[in-house]
Amino acid sequence: MARIIVDVMPKPEILDPQGKAVHGALPRLGFTGVSDVRQGKRFELEVESADETTLAEVDRIAATLLSNPVIEDYAVRVESGEPA
């Protein structure tokens, strides 16, 4: 088994109200020095093997369902290290 990670983030030019809300809460908790926060989504896909065909398929999944290309960018990678 292998785990493929898809990270989805709002495009830089798209307003991210959730990230802004998180950023706004930090000083109230005493955390200063964080100049910006962007909030995205992380998907973990369990697959039989992370071969080329599967990765191409996950890329299509990411482009059609997991992200909206109008407002979001995505990145696909295979999780390295020992499985959980």
Partner: protein
């Protein structure tokens, strides 16, 4: 004979019954359509109602887009059948690529519910012919993710082709680019808007009857065809 207007119910739709009622008050015959069916029951027009289809999981409208009935709605829209998306329905139309752009969380980060003044910018779509261009109407608005965004080229094209159908007047309630409240496709048969015309069809409830015009426009158009 009256025109038959289908109203799709997804899991999490809230305003499907109100939309059916609006169709009836406008003189049409509402037909309940089910998200899981590959069947539009030969309706003459389709309304995608407001609510939180599939709990707004992933993104508002993202999962509804892949519901079986949407295959038929997309095909019908491409044939020229009038399709109206209200609030969550607008989000579904954008996710389905029947309309350009996307709806994101309101810039002020809160849910908003108010009677909203809109200006009808395009009175030549299947859903707005009973209005006149420049007319101001008041209908309820209620959303958490109503900020319309698109890249600069898309906005320029929408503005240049007169495809902005409704614009917010007075206040911009959600951070939408260029105060855009509703848009149409190139052909003018698909219209999406965030405010809820189906909640303004009777004097007893809501701010008046300004919303009825969308439904009568489509019906008049269908009977004339």
């Amino acid at each position: 004979m009256s025109a038959r207007v289908g109203v799709v119910t997804f899991p999490g739709s809230l305003d499907d019954v109100d939309a059916q009622r609006a169709v009836r008050l406008a003189g049409g015959e509402p037909v309940a359509l089910w998200h899981g069916d590959h069947d539009l029951q030969d309706v003459d027009a389709v309304v995608l109602p407001g609510g939180f289809s599939y709990g707004d999981y992933l993104r508002a409208g993202a999962i509804a887009r892949f519901a079986p009935v949407m295959t038929e709605v997309v095909a019908a829209a491409e044939r020229g059948v009038p399709v109206l998306g209200i609030c969550n329905g607008f989000q579904v139309l954008c996710e389905s690529h029947l309309l350009p752009g996307a709806l994101i969380r309101n810039d002020h980060r809160t849910f908003i519910c108010r009677d909203q003044v809109l200006r009808v910018e395009n009175a030549d779509t299947a859903w707005t012919r009973d209005y006149s261009a420049g007319q101001e109407i008041t209908i309820p608005l209620k959303n958490g993710e109503g900020g319309f965004v698109a890249d600069a080229a898309t906005i320029e094209r929408l503005e240049g082709e007169g495809r902005v159908v409704f614009r917010y007047v007075g206040v911009n309630p959600n951070g939408s680019v260029a105060d855009i409240a509703g848009i149409t496709n190139e052909r003018g048969n698909v219209v999406g808007l965030m405010p809820h015309p189906e909640h303004a069809v009777e004097d007893l409830c809501g701010p008046g009857t300004d919303g009825l015009g969308l439904f009568t426009s489509a019906l008049k158009n269908l009977l004339a065809a």
